[in-house]
Symmetry: D2
Subunit: 159 residues, 4 copies
């Protein structure tokens, strides 16, 4: 592996609450590729594109190889995009994969993980390799083929 | 006009609140065709199909001929699909046409207009002719061409 | 009817051959709205959009009200877009409505009907009212809703 | 590598003519992943899905890593799907990658490569790894994400 990869940041989500799961641990992610779909439940690009895309990917690739995670990073209209509303959203939109609520920061608009990784907005996509290293952070809707290409590449990487 | 049409029910919405408008009156609708998109803000078929369709129609047909109206008929998860959340939804999804909140009924799940017209769920589409008569009530997503055909037909009807 | 409409040109196709039909006559079109899809069998916008759209419309609206017609107006690569190749195309793409071959002009690239109505290319759409008058000629792909709106409007016109 | 892969058939196309290229040699494909899109120019699933998909992939992935090839395997209507007509098709549909004409067999409907690999029809997709081994043969339209996943996986395989 290259030095660049040795310096790649490791994934560490800051989470106030998990939905659809009791809480993923680093142990749960060991040796898996991880796809993190960062979204807000009232963001049109998320609801019309990225969430249906993540739901499809979750159905098509085995959980033992690829862990799909939603990260609800609310940076506006916090008063209506509550965890309670999010629960309803996940149920209505058929989201079965684990969803983490990005940890709010007292008196701040931007939540913790979003700030830490300097995410530009929603939707954003974070790809993590089998070693836990963040390999790609992308803002905006991603093409199905391109996302497949990136995930396929990470899945077959060898040390 | 046929007797059947003479017996067609007239449109009368029961509304607790208007958004994007101070409140449409029968006078505002006089001699116009009216398209009512009945939706819930967390209903996938509404968010991914019917609301974008209504937004497109609202852009393409002049308000003086066709009045597009949203009717937010919440029959589940009332606690998170509040008027406050709806305001954010309309803003985020670029909905500029008037939206009526279907009047809740004390202790009942189904709101007033939904019950009155026996709507089966969301999305539903109601088409009203220039005389104020309800000419079509349809449950489920509608094809763009078919909806265009129905609206075009009502627009060019003569007495 | 307005003077403008009194001056609208009447539909007169110049045809060298009919496929899927023994040959539509003015009598066959009497009192019907007519949708003419002008195409070439190797034009991407026709094959990927307008022909599937016409096939859908032909399935959805009754032949006694709306006559869908294809017009194969070849203005380039005449040597491979022959009537023989067109027959295979119609069969493979499930086109069941009558298709007219636009009459070639000796030594000229542009065929007769295309020249007569000054069509700019393919796909083009021609809409004819129940009186046989050409009411709309449009170059390029048409939106499903807009096309529905125009057809619905012509269908319910009264004298 | 597993024994199964040691036994995987090697790619050997039987070609009567190349378009868009003077003729790819095994040398040209050395160490590349190869995507072969098997099609007929008048097959709707090819024209509306697989060819546009291959054009997109060809634009998105570098030729030095992934070689996209079209294989025109005509098994019906040979008289109109000639190399001459194919040339026009490729030009009109913006196909820039090399296209091989599957070698006809005297008096037989099915051409040589199609028979050799027992392809069931068009569209079909053949994926070849960096060692020249055929790793996947799939009949029918393929999902963008799934195809990306397979190609990405082959691209990052190590010996």
């Amino acid at each position: 592996m290259t030095d660049a990869l040795d310096n790649a940041p490791l994934l560490e989500l800051e989470v106030s609450e998990w939905l659809n799961h009791e809480g993923l641990t680093p142990e749960d992610l060991r040796d898996k590729v991880v796809l993190i779909e960062v979204f807000q439940m009232l963001c049109p690009g998320c609801v019309n594109h990225s969430i249906p895309q993540a739901v499809k990917i979750h159905r098509k690739v085995d959980d033992s190889q690829l862990q799909v995670i939603g990260l609800h990073s609310v940076f506006e209209h916090h008063e209506v995009m509550t965890p309670q509303a999010l629960k309803v959203f996940l149920d209505e939109f058929g989201v079965k994969f684990p969803v983490a609520v990005d940890k709010p920061r007292d008196g701040q608009r931007i939540p913790s993980t979003m700030k830490k990784y300097r995410l530009e907005g929603t939707p954003s996509t974070i790809l993590v390799d089998r070693k836990g290293r963040i390999r790609q952070v992308q803002f905006g809707q991603m093409d199905d083929f391109v996302l497949g290409l990136l995930i396929g590449s990470l899945l077959s990487e060898q040390d």
